[in-house]
């Protein structure tokens, strides 16, 4: 039984009298504790798939399951609970609350969920124990993204979703962020799904899903993932 399951998932957007299929029969699965990369060109439907998996969007047809629960048939209210308790989200542009310090940003997330991790500990685990009382504006992009990851981890979610987490960062910082995510997966046994358009990242993942034109072009399991440090692009 797979941990994450997508079965023939379709999502259509209506633009006037034109219907665009953002996801047109997506099929894949991810096992628990895997580091999964969804890769594909811009407009292929990667973000749509991630949004449906994260409960931020609903699919028009098909089945989405996480840990045996059917996400695709949830009501709005159930989806809210699902997002709150089961999903950790890391965005390309961090989405931190500017009026709260790094620690408070993490506390904000931990306050609303059932079984949170200690915020200070989590911040420490992402290497920011010294920047706890700094506001986002006082942090670099990489640091902000780390706060954002800490915020997602503090909720102790079943699934960590990352939408182009390195998109706004330079090469080296991006690398450290990816390393952090990979470490989370390895040490905390979290299931991590990363969306990226960077094909070069594929070797570091346990599972790579290629998406093209709203369909899964190929899915491969990598039995021997490479640490991020050894990848160059």
């Amino acid at each position: 039984m797979s941990y994450v399951l997508f079965r023939d998932v379709c999502k259509y957007y209506k633009m006037g009298d034109q219907t665009i299929a953002a996801a047109n029969g997506v099929d894949f699965e991810v096992q628990q504790g895997e580091f999964c990369i969804i890769v594909g060109p811009s407009g292929a439907g990667k973000t749509t798939v991630l949004n449906i998996l994260g409960g931020m969007d609903s699919c028009d047809s098909g089945i989405v399951q996480l840990d045996g629960r059917d996400v695709s048939s949830m009501s709005e209210k159930e989806l809210t609970d699902y997002r709150r308790h089961d999903i950790g989200f890391v965005f390309q542009f961090y989405n931190l609350v500017q009026n709260l310090t790094a620690l408070e940003n993490v506390e904000l997330a931990s306050e609303i969920c059932k079984d949170p991790l200690d915020p200070a500990e989590t911040l420490k685990s992402v290497g920011l124990e010294d920047r706890c009382s700094n506001f986002p504006a006082q942090l670099s992009g990489g640091e902000q993204q780390r706060v954002s990851i800490a915020r997602a981890l503090a909720k102790n979610p079943k699934l960590l979703l990352c939408d182009e987490p390195t998109g706004a960062l330079d090469y080296n910082t991006g690398k450290t962020i990816l390393k952090l995510l990979q470490d989370c997966c390895r040490t905390m046994n979290k299931t991590v799904v990363v969306v990226t358009h960077n094909q070069a990242l594929c070797p570091m993942a346990d599972r790579v899903i290629h998406i093209h034109s709203g369909k899964v072009a190929s899915m491969e399991v990598n039995p021997d993932p490479v640490p991020v440090e050894n990848i160059e692009w």
Binding site: V97, N99, L100, E104, E107, L108, E111, I112
Partner: protein
């Protein structure tokens, strides 16, 4: 709300307090403005309604060209919803203010001592003491300039002034406000220029007519006069009034026709009786005339008979005249006359005198 979230809000407010204060002020101003606007309509309605209530403004002003009688009032009083009915006479007439300022005036003849409906509020001066005095409605920009002390005269140009009005001159002694004319509007008039120049209130004694032209009716309504509830209430009462009205209208029409017919009948009767009387008198006169004629003829015959008697008497006297003359001559000559002869002479003279009297009487 979670602790951290409220901390975020407090910080946001503290960081941009000026903006926060400005937004609060704008919202307060907008809210206040909105509340002001929203409350002004109900306030105005409540104010006007209170004014109507305080001065017992009529719910109805029913007019009749046939005139209302006490029977009509009694019939309307039978409607449960009706509280008070105040009868009055209201007519538009050409009036002259002062010496030559002619305008159209509305003359209210009301029981001023007991105004149960449309109560007047005295603004200036005093209320009238009699039907030769009046108070006028507060002048507006649509009415003419009439002052306390002016005399308002009903113009002789009006129809039926003599039979309509008991008083044609009214001295203005005060100025009043009536709820009936609560706004300064142009008040149309049925006479003159079509615009009412002055509205005056006096006692009903000013009118000669024994019927009322208007009934001012106050209902038991408790709803605001501007509400839909009031409208449906009034609609209901209107139906009842109209029912009474139809019946009374027919009755009143019959009454007037009956009155006129009775008068006509009376006149006819009078005509007949007078005619009969005249005829009987005529007959009597004829009889008298005939009798007179007969009497005259009788008289004439009597006269003839008398003349004949006189003539006969004269002839007898004439026959004895020579003897008498002889006897008188002898007497004059100094012959003594026997007593018998003297008696005969006296008898003769008496006969002559009687004849002369008879002739004279006959001449007459």
């Amino acid at each position: 709300m979670s602790k951290i979230y409220s901390r975020s809000i407090t910080r946001e407010i503290r960081k941009s307090f000026g903006r926060f204060a400005a937004i609060i002020a704008i919202v307060a101003l907008g809210g206040g403005f909105l509340v002001g606007i929203l409350s002004s309509t109900p306030d105005m309605k409540a104010t006007a309604d209170k004014y109507y209530r305080d001065f017992a403004m009529s719910d109805y002003d029913i007019k009749s060209t046939l005139g209302f009688t006490d029977d009509d009032i009694a019939a309307l009083s039978g409607i449960d919803e009706i509280d008070k009915i105040m009868p009055g006479n209201v007519m538009d007439a050409l009036v002259i203010v002062g010496s030559d300022n002619q305008m159209s005036g509305r003359i209210y003849g009301l029981d001023l001592d007991n105004l149960t409906v449309n109560r007047l509020e005295l603004k200036e001066g005093r209320m009238p003491d009699s039907a030769s005095e009046c108070v006028i409605e507060s002048p507006t920009s649509y009415t003419e300039d009439v002052k306390i002390g002016d005399t308002i005269t009903v113009s002789a140009e009006n129809d039926d002034v003599d039979t309509t009005y008991a008083h044609t001159e009214f001295k203005v002694v005060g100025i009043v406000d009536s709820p009936y004319y609560f706004c300064s509007n142009r008040e149309p008039s049925s006479v003159g220029s079509g615009r009412t120049g002055v509205i005056l209130y006096t006692y009903r004694d000013a009118y000669k007519t024994d019927v009322y032209t208007d009934l001012f009716i106050l209902t038991h309504n408790t709803e605001n006069a501007f509400s839909e509830k009031y409208e449906s209430y009034i609609e209901k009462v209107t139906e009842k009034i109209e029912k009474v009205s139809d019946a009374r209208l027919a009755a009143r029409y019959d009454e007037i026709i009956d009155e006129a017919m009775a008068e006509l009948q009376e006149a006819k009767d009078t005509l007949e009786s007078e005619k009969a009387k005249a005829e009987s008198e005529l007959d009597k006169a004829q009889v008298d005339l005939d009798r007179g004629q007969r009497e005259y003829e009788n008289g004439l015959a009597q006269l003839d008979a008398a003349q004949k008697e006189l003539d006969e008497a004269k002839a007898q006297l004439d026959a004895v005249k020579p003897q008498i003359d002889e006897a008188k001559a002898a007497q004059a000559a100094g012959y003594p006359l026997s007593n018998e002869v003297l008696a005969q002479i006296a008898q003769y003279d008496a006969g002559i005198a009687q004849w002369e009297r008879g002739t004279a009487e006959l001449q007459k």
